[in-house]
């Protein structure tokens, strides 16, 4: 839920990275964290297992500068992708303004991608949101792997509403900021409509 503070002149928005386990959600945040100037970011918090799998969430506050005199802040969250963490995943979606779906391009992960989109749709619905109208983008990650499925084939399987779609190699940062921008823009455009 966009939070506008007229006294402090701040706009705060929440973006959630969603997708199957090991798809690269945390890697997206880590890259953004590493490439952002210190005065533009807060601490990155990762609640993870010993094996570096997200347990509850990752959190990264980003300051994108000001718009019409208001400091624009984006709070980036990732969900835990492993199927059995569904209760936690649902909690993170609370008050979301935009969603980035990180799909794993490996052919053998397509079923997991599809299942995760369905899960996103249903968890959003439980919060009263409709994936059809929530600002969102689709990221095809791990394009560097030899078993990556062709993009058009993936698009046919995963595109939900012709949302902006990006090819990415999150470990190298390819496509990471483009995906974030696409959703941030949609959120700000929504703000204009109100």
């Amino acid at each position: 839920m966009t939070f506008i503070n007229y006294a402090a002149k701040e706009i705060n928005c929440k973006i959630v990275y969603y997708g199957p386990g090991l798809g690269g959600k945390t890697t997206n945040l880590q890259y953004i964290y590493n490439k952002t100037a210190p005065d533009r970011k807060g601490k990155m918090i990762s609640l993870a297992t010993e094996a570096d799998r997200t347990l509850f969430f990752d959190f990264l506050p980003l300051d994108l500068g000001s718009i019409r005199g208001f400091t624009t802040r984006f709070h980036l969250y990732t969900v835990p992708g492993q199927v059995f963490y569904d209760a936690s995943r649902k909690l993170i979606l609370k008050g979301v303004d935009g969603v980035i779906f990180v799909a794993d391009s490996q052919r053998e992960r397509m079923e997991a991608n599809v299942e995760s989109i369905r899960n996103l749709e249903s968890n959003l619905r439980d919060h009263g949101f409709d994936l059809k109208t929530v600002p969102s983008a689709l990221q095809f990650n791990k394009r560097d792997l030899p078993n990556a499925m062709p993009v058009d084939e993936m698009y046919r399987m995963l595109n939900y509403k012709r949302e902006p779609t990006f090819e990415a190699v999150a470990v190298q940062g390819v496509g990471v900021f483009d995906t974030l921008k696409a959703v941030a823009k949609q959120i700000l455009v929504e703000l204009r409509k109100r």
Binding site: F3, Y6, I45, P61, L64, I67, R68, L91, K181, R192
Partner: protein
């Protein structure tokens, strides 16, 4: 969309200042249930308020989930006891979280008592915010964001 205007923001801050003083607390924070920092009072520089807000909201969300699992509506208060500093977390007006950090200069009993009183005041302010959120007939306040241009948005990312 949650919107806070200047007068309500000041009232929230005043209530927090009073609570900090009355409860002899180190710092108090008011946090939106979605993890956004709203306002604070006391020795706030000592703490990372953004991280605090996100983790507190996560903590409350997880505890709410637990409550529902066992058939409770919510656990209204959480208390974490440390070696030096302790944390008292409670829900205000069903949508915000009040976090009080205190040490041996105060006590759980005192904090609990003062939080109760402050919550009543804070709830009044939230109710006022809700009233303001419903636009009055014929009065359409222009939002400063209705004029945002594509250039404004692009500029955010080019810096």
């Amino acid at each position: 969309m949650e919107v806070v205007f200047e007068p309500e923001f000041r009232r929230l801050e005043d209530a927090l200042k009073r609570l900090r003083q009355d409860a002899n607390a180190k710092a108090v924070f008011l946090i939106d249930k979605n993890g956004q920092h709203i306002a604070a009072a006391g020795e706030t520089e000592e703490f990372d308020s953004t991280s605090l807000a996100s983790l507190t909201a996560g903590n409350v969300a997880a505890t709410d989930g637990l409550a529902k699992l066992i058939g409770e509506r919510e656990f209204s208060v959480l208390f974490h006891e440390g070696q030096r500093d302790h944390i008292h977390i409670s829900i205000v007006a069903r949508r915000a979280i009040l976090l009080v950090i205190f040490d041996e200069r105060s006590s759980l009993g005192l904090v609990r008592l003062r939080v109760k009183r402050a919550s009543v005041e804070l709830k009044k302010v939230f109710d006022e915010m809700d009233r303001k959120a419903i636009p009055e007939e014929g009065v359409t306040e222009p939002s400063p964001f209705s004029e945002i241009t594509d250039e404004d948005i692009d500029a955010l990312f080019s810096e």
